[in-house]
Amino acid sequence: MNRRVAPAPAKPEKTVAPPPAPRAPARERPRARAWREHHSRSFRASLQRLAARPGATALTLLVMSLALCLPFLLWLLLDNARALGGHLDDARGIGVFLKPELDAATAKSLADTLRKRADVAEVAIRTPEEGLAEFRSQSGFADALKVLQGNPLPTVLIVTPKVVAAANRGAPAIVDELAHDPHVDQVQYDALWRQRLDAILAFTARLAGVLAVLLGLAALLVVGNTVRSDIAGRAEEISVMQLLGADRAFVRRPFLYTGLWYGALAGLVALLLIVGVEIALAGPLGQLTSSYGERFAIHGLSIAQALALFGASIVLGWLGAWIATTRQLSFGRPR
């Protein structure tokens, strides 16, 4: 910073002191501008450098984007499975089979008392006639049913309990109470498989998380390794820059931007891969979901999720480059 423009040997006392004082305030802004210019230059130059070796860049991007999109795909699958599970809440209804000899009025009054309970959300009555009609239409038993003289089906109350926080813990108390009701023949409650499904979903969620961490680490290492070899290839340039007085930040900057570009581009490729997978699976999945009727539709990546993936990718790329430069750039003795 001790720079002299036109030294005057005859007047040595005036060479250094006067210039800095008036220049200091005016200098600040050009400095900031120079800093910004260097950033934008590094930004562009690092992209050009990637474009200069398209093969190597494409390989790095592909590995990185695969590592990024795998956990996301698993997570997406999980998300859809959860939604499916949500629709299966219907199955939580408690099937209460009343004794066959009970008449419709008793069944109705029983339903009304149940409706008044605090832990009951809804009670639906299925009369024997309705049951028979449904049986006939659905199961192709029409011929067999014709043989029957009377209607053997009982009245069924479908009780949907209010979902409480600890719903997964076990059967609600009402199940037990209904089982002991004198009017009730049998209580059917499919809690167990529901609990199993929840456990499977929780396990898959954890699996997706662990995979995301591992594969994120892989993406980090891919970028780190690429930047490391980049640094090795530009050793002379780095060494010259250091001799010319470049500080750590200046030398590191282009590599950090390289990492940033890798992250951004790999994020885009990963998004494309995910969209591709969605398109490839759309046909068979459509057939599968249509069997669930209108109530269930598969959903893909939302905008927010896509942005999150993109952002995570950029951060990983930058971080990988940062780690590589911290490890590789020696600031001791340039050649």
Partner: protein, 237 residues
């Protein structure tokens, strides 16, 4: 301006590397611009290097960049704006007579031209100290004289110029102060003819680079002095 002469391994390069903080002294002190380099912290090394222009024997230009970009590098590092860089790079290239080649890649230039680009890069930041390690090592005598005259010009406008060379004939013709090293010790300090030494602001203080209490590598260059001072600074480590 002063020359550092001596055989290979005499310590010429070491001396210049110490001034540029490429190496650190194990003993003794080096003062450049009133700054004790031995006490310079690692994070201030870049700043010190920016105040020293360096010319290398193999010029060390970046071959994948144009002449302009090579010369612009020190200014980019120093944090100059684009307009300022443009102006100063052209001024520096003009000074070494290569303004017309600013867009060329260095490989298309001759050895002498490449070395002149190296010099332009060293002086573009207007450093108070300019050091050159065998800048004419790869050049023929005529080109060498041309390059040396260029250095002498910078010495004349107030830059401290320190050139290491083993080409004694050339050095003698230049008529500047010559420091002769041998095995890390100053064995001679003379001036072939009288000349105005404008060099200043670089002080190299003993003790010697090598051990032993023999003659010391020490030279203080005073502003505007035409004498040949060989007085070591009082500060011995």
């Amino acid at each position: 301006m002063a020359f550092v002469a001596g055989h290979s391994g005499a310590g010429k390069s070491t001396l210049l590397r110490l001034v540029a903080l490429m190496d650190r002294p194990t003993r003794g002190q080096i003062t450049v611009n009133d700054q004790n380099l031995a006490k310079t912290k690692a994070r201030h090394v870049p700043r010190v290097r920016r105040s020293v222009g360096m010319v290398f024997q193999d010029h060390r230009l970046l071959m994948d960049r144009s002449v302009f970009a090579n010369v612009a590098l020190p200014l980019e590092i120093a944090g100059c704006t684009r307009e300022e860089i443009g102006k100063r790079v052209r001024a520096a290239l003009d000074k070494v007579g290569l303004l017309a080649r600013e867009a060329s890649p260095p490989v298309t230039l001759s050895a002498g031209e490449q070395q002149r680009v190296g010099i332009a890069r060293a002086i573009v930041g207007k450093p108070p100290v300019l050091i050159a390690d065998e800048p004419t090592g790869n050049l023929d005598p005529m080109l060498s004289a041309e390059i040396m005259n260029l250095f002498a010009e910078f010495g004349q406008v107030g830059t401290t110029v320190l050139v290491a060379s083993h080409d004694l004939n050339l050095i003698k013709r230049m008529g500047k102060r010559v420091l002769v090293l041998d095995h890390g010790k100053l064995i001679d300090d003379f001036r072939p003819q009288t000349d105005n030494v404008v060099a200043r602001s670089a002080t190299i203080t003993p003790p010697p680079l090598r051990s032993g209490g023999g003659q010391e590598v020490g030279a203080k260059q005073d502003a505007g002095r035409s004498s040949l001072p060989s007085r070591p600074e009082g500060t011995s480590a």
